[in-house]
Amino acid sequence: MSWVGSAVPRVEDPALLSGKGRFVDDLQVPNMLHAAVVRSPYAHARVRGIDKGAALALPGVHAVLTYEDLPEPFRESRLLLLVPNPAIRYPVTYYTLAKDEVCFAGEAVAFVIADDRYIAEDAAELVDIDYEPLPMASDCRAALAPGAAVAHADRPDNIAADFPIAYGDIDAAFAGAAHVFTESIFAHRGGGHAIECRGIVAAHDPVGDNMTLWVNTQSPHMLRDVYAKMMGVSESRIRVIAPADVGGGFGPKGMYYQEHFCAAAAARLLGRPVKWIEDRRENFLSTYQERDQHWDVEVAVDAEGRLRGVRGSLIHDAGAYLPWGIITPFISATTVPGPYVLPAYHMNLTVVFTNKVATTPVRGAGRPQAAFVMERLMDRIARELDLDPVEVRRRNFIQPEQMPYSVGLVFRDGSPVVYDSGDYPACQEKAIALADYESFRERQAEARQAGRYIGIGLGSYVEGTGLGPFEGVSVKVEMSGKVAVQTGAAPQGQGHQTMLAQIVADQLGVKPEDIAVTPGDTGGVGIGIGTFASRITANAGPSAQLAATGVREKLVRAAAHLLEAAEADLDVADGRVFIKGVPDHGKTFAEIATFANGMPGFSLPGGVTPGLDETAYFTPERSTYANGAHVVEVEVDIETGAVTILRYSTAHDCGAMINPKMVDGQVLGGVAHGVGNALFEWMRYDDDAQPQTVSFGEYLIPMATDVPRVDQVHIQTPTPLNPLGVKGAGEGGTIPAIAAIAAAVEDALSPFGVHITQTPVTPPYILERLDAAKRTESLG
């Protein structure tokens, strides 16, 4: 039987269920000290002086580090900008600790190290910083106005980047259009809000000058490489270990942060391990978010509602720094065409500095906003031309026979955006069948009779997943006979260990639970990229297969010598290699590994390679595109503006599935995140750029009573781009959720003519829209 494709129980679960998880804050390193961060209370200020005296006088305090105390070259080097882009006018990122200007409330200014966290926090309060408040940029649109306060004191304006993303003849598309419709859309997304906050333990060994960092990061190799560059030391002196258990990532843990370098610097300076664990308030202040996008768009269609072109502008709130460059708005703008044939497209992007924490990708990475925009346009076309929303989409979908389909866009690596495979019309048909869409208007009419407002909404999407360049896996049969797998890929709950174990198990004829998978350690696999962009299954998966196939060949070759048999006559199963049909005549993995690991003075026979291990780096030629369709039914309470999701149906195509149960789980979790974005989550700042939602009481993430049961169906269109045929599954649940939920709310309120152009669709927003609609009505 094959392990790949079956819903095997996760190897991760037993430890996590019995309190034996190993999260970063569970680590106790001997002699360890604890850190707390002193953060700017101002959104924008000059730092005139820092008095550490009182803090240092507190018993149990070991050091208070500020910019001045950091070692060179740390002090002067800003954190590296991960993905440079020529469109960026001012490629500015953080200093490890603020130099003389703080640019958002929450920026780290000092790092206090003490015997325990309680003392460190006491001392942090005693650090006396003299700030000179400066004018600040808060709203990203207001920040573009002439004469607006600047987010960085030495800049002439707040434009971080300003460039178009376009293809086709947009003027002709609009000149010949039967209809043109315009929308102004505000798309807000908050943060990742993994339940485990960020954290690090840094330990420096002064003898070998080796630094070990345990960090709950999605990208251990990236952190190592950045640290090496900033410190000017060899990568081999640094080991970054993402603990086996990381409590959720969702994007923000993919980046490096000020505190990572502070902790490393402190461990080096003090000669003792240092732990820093973020608290939830700090998470709201300093962990990267997605936040605000303002879209002004126009769509041109022919008389039948077929797309001719989309054009407009996108203003994106970058925050104060660009640690990940301008990747989020870039992805947003390139996602708009989605699953539709769109002959011409022109979007002007303006990325704006504000005095807020930086924005970087959160689950979906700018795509939910893009899907919201495109699907709003689809619904608008349907309404204006009096067509069913399903029908408008049917008329515009890229057809399966058009695959591979070149969209016309150029992706961020300069390659053309080419959808490799997928059947978008079929996906929508499956979703509407699952949702019983055909009978909905009847149900809706009945509900209205009873004074209830229910509505239905659709959302389709295409997502670039599995982007390269690679993610390595090494597989080894040890002399103990056990199978060990190491990968640079770092999981945060996705089940990478199980997924890789399934793939290796198939090749080596052992059970997944007999394979020990160690992820996320730069000491295990030399180079790596990281867990984001739904890329691990499509990158590490094929690497695991390649490496395991290589080990299998080595096993068979060595066994052939031991058994004096031809390789073709051998079989591998149950941890043994044996003569086909004669299972008793064979050797165990332990025996073969012992042989292949050699004996002093005895040469290996020809063809037998030393050891039974293999490392592989599968390199996909380009991204593979997953897709899906969601259908949502909601009820809106017109008195309170509350939205209840009654039914949620998804059709999802992520190619071949290694573990269907884990794929279901990814979609479910993704939908829940989308529900939060659609209805609740709003990271609010006031006019002084002071964050207003800094607890889970103020910033609402969905509870068990908010998230509906989700009915799922899968289509499996294997991608030709990797040998497993897999695509990414981590973000598809989130991407169309906002669009579909917003459409359902609008549909429920159609008797009032309410038009939804904002996310989140909060109760106050709904009531305000109802009021506005009623006012228009009474005027009309």
Partner: protein, 161 residues
């Protein structure tokens, strides 16, 4: 160094006496002093439920309680809900129903459900969701958790009849 006090309490069935700082939260005491790291911290302001433990059998937020307040009481953490070998039936139901991904919320959820399912052995899905509404999970969308609770209740009912 803050004021200290001696406390004696029962943790997972064993009596524990310690000299603690009066300002220590119960969760910090459990995690850092007793090294029971199964109980997690997600917010420290009483909303996420990751720190949920059982105090005298009732679920409680160990981030909102001081260690000294647990003096004389009986505390059960996820470690105490786990058999020496293998998994409890409720834990197994989580494996079978994919009730966890990152597992960070899971210990708190197990504590909440342990109390809930004792008092409500035959709950509806809605009742389970309401019981879980004090435990945030960012990964699973809750469905696997709800299904695990339902499956556990159903199998208990089966064995009781």
């Amino acid at each position: 160094m803050g004021e200290r006090r001696d406390i004696t309490l029962t943790v997972n069935g064993a009596s524990v006496s310690r000299d603690v700082e009066v300002r220590w939260t119960l969760v910090d005491f459990l995690r850092h002093e007793l090294e029971l790291t199964g109980t997690h911290v997600g917010c420290e302001h009483g909303v996420c439920g990751a720190c949920t433990v059982l105090i005298d059998g009732r679920s409680a937020r160990s981030c909102l309680m001081l260690a000294v307040q647990a003096d004389g009481h009986e505390v059960t953490t996820v470690e105490g809900l786990s058999p020496a070998e293998g998994l409890s039936p409720l834990q197994q139901a989580f494996v079978d129903n994919h009730g966890l991904q990152c597992g960070y919320c899971t210990p708190g959820i197990l504590c909440t459900l342990t109390e809930f399912l004792e008092t409500n052995p035959d709950p509806s899905e809605e009742e389970i969701r309401i019981a879980l509404s004090g435990n945030l999970c960012r990964c699973t969308g809750y469905q696997g958790i709800v299904d695990a609770a339902l499956a556990y209740a159903r199998s208990n009912k089966g064995s009781a009849e």
